[in-house]
């Protein structure tokens, strides 16, 4: 498993989707799934060519939500751009904040105080738990389990969003992190409330697992469907739970040790088959690891400032240079690439959106399967259109 992407290099086109042909009976049907299909998580279109029930071609169509986020970022100052990052992946605004703050901190060599690092980890892991829970909920919704699993997930998500609201003032558009720390400190009451929520999370994951893991319908619909090979996953730049479900051990928290992730003990769950079930299972196990990180971080949370007193907020002009900062966001590798020319605005501001790039292999996973499975395969990728279209 060490030579990903290398073993097939002599076969031209090995990383392209295979060509499927009609079996010659009947006519081909072209269907535009979306942009308002209930399973597309927003405005997204898949142009599908069907031979009976079988998918023989699939082209994703983007851009319905495109607002040129990168151009917006270049027309305003570094700090003014922070709230805009919330709107990329609106399920996980805090990890977006962190990735952007990390890129700017790398650009200017800014240090972050201890307490702020712990708070960042706590918030990022809470974000991961609520994102994975809702993703699994949505996946089951698309499988026909109408409403109930999603409501179980959203009940837990609501508790976490209440924590975000009491700390940052907003449930989803948190705008919390700054270059060199966090905006406000967490009160002892908030820490206590977080401890209580985190203590309740394992019971929720247990319950979720008991209901779902050996559910016959879930197993029949997910196992062996939408398989992604590990060599193709690496070559296609897939990241996050989707990459690890294919059996590739690559977690940026372990590889880069950004922030203070080297201080926590956690495992990286890996899949065996790279099918929908593995993607679901990896997310389930990652929730457990996140809860373990949360417990460790809440135990060691030090006192102190949450903002580096030397950090410059007004008249922030980084010296000329560039930086690429990336984190393990719940959906995959979220990166920000910045070029500074010494002015208050970034010369180039680029977002590396994980859900956009994870869609590269959507066609490969869907080809040959039934049209009803396309909905599930798409749901198992876990995308948010605010980030795909930017």
């Amino acid at each position: 498993m060490s030579s990903f992407g290398i073993k097939n290099e002599k076969l031209a086109g090995w990383n392209r989707p295979p060509v499927f042909e009609s079996d010659g009976e009947g006519e081909l049907l072209e269907v535009a799934m979306g942009p308002h299909h209930p399973s597309t998580h927003g405005v997204f279109r898949m142009d599908v060519v069907l031979d009976g029930e079988r998918v023989i071609k699939l082209k994703p169509v983007f851009g319905y939500l495109h607002r040129n986020h990168e151009q917006l970022g270049q027309t305003q100052s570094y700090l003014a751009n922070m709230p805009y990052t919330d709107r990329l992946d609106y399920f996980c605004s805090l990890t977006n904040n962190w990735a952007y703050a990390l890129a700017v901190e790398k650009l200017v060599g800014q240090e972050v105080p201890e307490r702020a690092e712990y708070l960042r980890v706590i918030l990022a892991e809470l974000t991961r738990v609520q994102n994975h829970a809702s993703t699994i909920g949505f996946l089951l919704q698309e499988m026909g389990a109408s409403g109930t699993p999603l409501m179980y997930a959203f009940r837990e998500r609501e508790k976490i969003l209440d924590l975000f609201e009491s700390l940052t003032g907003s449930r989803m558009m948190c705008n919390y992190m700054r270059f060199g720390g966090c905006r406000v400190d967490a009160s002892p009451a908030w820490i206590e409330a977080t401890r209580k929520v985190v203590a309740g999370l394992p019971a929720f994951v247990d319950e979720f697992e008991r209901f779902l893991m050996t559910n016959e319908i879930l197993m029949a619909r997910c196992q062996g469907i939408g398989v992604l090979r590990p060599d193709l996953a690496v070559n296609s730049g897939i990241s996050g739970p989707m990459l690890r479900a294919s059996g590739v051990n690559y977690d940026i928290r372990k590889v880069d040790h950004y922030g203070i992730y080297d201080r926590f003990k956690f495992r990286v769950p890996l899949g065996d088959h790279g099918d929908i079930y593995d993607r679901y299972m990896v997310r389930m196990l990652e929730m457990r690891e996140s809860i373990s990180i949360l417990n460790q971080a809440l135990k060691d949370l030090p006192a102190g400032p949450v903002m580096d007193p030397k950090a410059k907020i007004r008249n922030f002009r980084p010296k000329a240079g560039e930086s690429y900062g990336r984190i393990e966001a719940p959906k995959g590798e979220l990166g920000f690439y910045l070029i500074s020319d010494g002015s208050p605005n970034p010369y180039r501001y680029r977002v590396r959106p994980p859900s956009f790039i994870n869609l590269t292999v959507l066609e490969d996973m869907c080809l040959g399967s039934n049209v009803a499975d396309v909905v599930l395969i798409f749901g198992s990728v876990d995308i948010v259109l605010g980030e795909v279209d930017r």
Partner: protein, 223 residues
């Protein structure tokens, strides 16, 4: 991991004739990058991916950057014929004059690739390629056959910056619609005049309304 200088040397021995320049990054993170000549782009990319020591099998981020034409003022000494009155007689005399002239350095479009290794868990190695100019010679070799991860991102650069990636299997617009003409991420992009009538125009809307009316009067736009 090897330093950029070592990688440069390794590329130069493996791909003869490849032009590689180290672009230093003055920021504290010191992520220096390598500028690759576009002619050998694919060969260099294949070397970086298949070399056992580097094993850069994971292309994370691809992005475009636009650099406008630069006007550089230069002081030049020029000999010029000047009419002068010498001893009461008007004569033309050669004289050395210092002049500031503007030299135009052509702008270019740049594609930046951030490479990592999943097998060896190191990175990033940053490579860049530049087009000859911003107008008619905007081709770069596509690295999608080497790393599929570039597929959508190169399409995005083609869409928003206008770099044409030769060898890309499916080069179409991705975020803008197919009929769209311009490239919105270019630094000299001008928004199209899509003014809609508003009864009480004010501030910025008023400014746009006036610009629109002037254009209509000049016959450059339709009512």
């Amino acid at each position: 991991m090897k330093s950029v200088e070592e990688i440069k040397a390794a590329i130069e021995t493996a791909v003869p004739g490849a032009a590689v320049t180290v672009i230093p990054n003055p920021a504290p993170n010191a992520q220096h990058s390598l500028l690759i000549g576009a002619q050998h782009g694919v060969a260099v990319a294949e070397f970086l991916r298949d070399n056992e020591e580097l094993a850069l099998d994971y292309l994370s981020n691809v992005t475009g950057v636009d650099y406008l034409d630069k006007e550089i003022p230069e002081k030049v000494k020029v000999t010029r014929q000047v009419s002068k009155t010498v001893d009461g007689v008007e004569q033309t005399v050669d004289e050395m004059v210092e002049e500031t002239r503007k030299r135009v350095e052509p702008g270019y479009l740049e594609a930046v690739y951030h490479l990592f290794s999943v097998a060896k868990k190191h990175g990033p190695v940053i490579i860049r390629m530049r087009t000859a100019n911003r107008t008619d010679q905007v081709e770069l070799p596509s690295l999608t056959p080497v790393w599929r991860g570039a597929e959508f991102q190169e399409r995005e650069i083609f869409d928003l910056f206008g770099i044409v990636f030769t060898g890309h299997p499916d080069l179409r617009r991705i975020l803008m619609w197919d009929e769209f003409k311009d490239h919105p991420m270019r630094r000299d992009y001008v928004e199209p005049d899509d003014f809609e009538y508003e009864p009480t125009a004010h501030d910025e809307v008023l400014k746009r309304a006036q610009e629109h009316k002037a254009k209509v009067a000049a016959g450059e736009a339709v009512q």
